[in-house]
């Protein structure tokens, strides 16, 4: 029976049945408009985060303390550009164009991870970002390898393979600083203090306050809730902080043997919403920089188009 013979409700039931039985949804399948919209929102936001995320680290490439460190940081930032590309392309399979997504980013209609609105003030921040920010992203992305939309899930598998080097190079920077001179150790502590809480915020609001969570879980776009993923990250990070010999930024952190998890202090949600709504240190700068780079690249796109036209004409003549 062709799709057109079915009512919307029947189609939706068949769709949900696929999801419930752990089958992936592929681009040409019928899907509810809400599913498509929800995916476009989440995937484009993810793509924007990869791209905007290049700025805080790009800030230190020319000032890396050694040639080796410079090569490593360059390689990482290059990976993030690739992640942006994988994700934009996967999002395009849902019927939105790259130009529309970029427009939404630049006008503020679409968001990106708030963490990238924090400034990178010291070399230690390169350590903290790789270790904590990429670490939090990995927690989230490992979970998304099981997301219900095929192209997104496959993109996540590819990305996760590349991510683990990001986290480890960051942690290695932290180890070197933490075991170094007192000044270096202080730099590591300072970066940890500034990036720990914003990393926890990367998982989003508490489940009880999350606008998109329930639908996303039902459609298996998300596989684990914000709070569960955050808990995993808190548990993983605690021994890593301890090994560095640094002070844990959360004074209320305590192992809870009964739960088998750490209890932790409350996040400053006012800060979270304030940064999301545009009042972080670097919100304006990040978008301005993106617009500038985009505009400065216009001649490249124009040249490519002109070259294509020229070849087309040649082809017609031959």
């Amino acid at each position: 029976m062709a799709n057109s013979d079915l009512t919307e409700a029947e189609l939706e039931a068949a769709f949900q049945e696929k999801i419930d039985s752990e089958q992936k949804i592929e681009p040409k399948d019928w899907m509810p408009e809400g599913y498509r919209k929800n995916l476009i929102r989440q995937m484009s936001q993810h793509a924007h985060s990869e791209v905007i995320g290049m700025q805080p680290e790009g800030n230190w490439i020319t000032r890396a303390p050694s040639l080796r460190r410079k090569a490593v940081l360059l390689a990482k930032v290059q990976d993030e550009a690739g992640h942006g590309l994988y994700l934009y392309s996967a999002t395009e399979t849902l019927g939105i164009s790259r130009a529309e997504m970029i427009e939404a980013l630049q006008t503020g209609a679409a968001k990106y991870a708030s963490i990238f609105n924090y400034p990178t003030q010291t070399w230690g921040d390169m350590g903290a970002i790789g270790w904590l920010v990429d670490g939090a992203a990995i927690c989230n992305q490992v979970s998304l390898q099981r997301t219900s939309y095929g192209p997104y899930a496959r993109g996540m598998i590819r990305i996760c393979k590349e991510e683990s080097f990001h986290q480890r190079q960051g942690y290695q920077i932290m180890i070197e600083l933490a075991l170094g001179t007192p000044e270096q150790k202080q730099m590591a502590q300072d970066s940890l203090n500034r990036f720990y809480w914003p990393s926890l915020m990367m998982f989003g609001p508490h489940d009880s306050d999350s606008a998109h969570s329930a639908k996303s879980m039902k459609w298996k776009i998300k596989r684990e809730t914000n709070d569960d993923l955050r808990q995993k990250f808190i548990d993983q990070t605690a021994p890593q902080i301890k090994f560095l010999g640094l002070e844990h930024p959360d004074k209320d952190l305590k192992w809870n043997a009964e739960r088998g998890h750490h209890d932790s202090g409350e996040i400053n949600w006012d800060e979270f919403y304030s940064v999301i709504n545009g009042n972080g240190h670097c919100n304006r700068q990040r978008i301005q920089h993106h617009v500038k780079a985009h505009e400065e690249g216009a001649w490249v796109r124009a040249a490519m188009l002109a070259y294509k036209e020229k070849k087309k004409k040649q082809y017609q003549v031959d």
Binding site: K24, R68, A75, G135, S164, F243
Partner: protein, 95 residues
Amino acid sequence: MTIEKLELFEVFIRSKRGLDHKHVGSLHAEDHEQALEYARDVYTRRSEGVSIWVIRSEDICASQEDDSESFFDPSDDKPYRHATYYPLPKEIDNM
């Protein structure tokens, strides 16, 4: 139309939802539609797939094996792109 005049198509099959389409072979056909039907008849007789892609062979742009040195070599001297390049202290069991 003689068989020699038919175009060559490449066939890709998705064996299961969620997996990538994989190249399985090629065939001759008059157009896309016919290529899809042939591909179904030839390549999925034992339920090998849930989805088929066909593409004109001449539309595929491929890198040349002979160029592979200059094409791929540069990544050999960048071991730092791999996680294993960064040893973990034994106190940290997973990362």
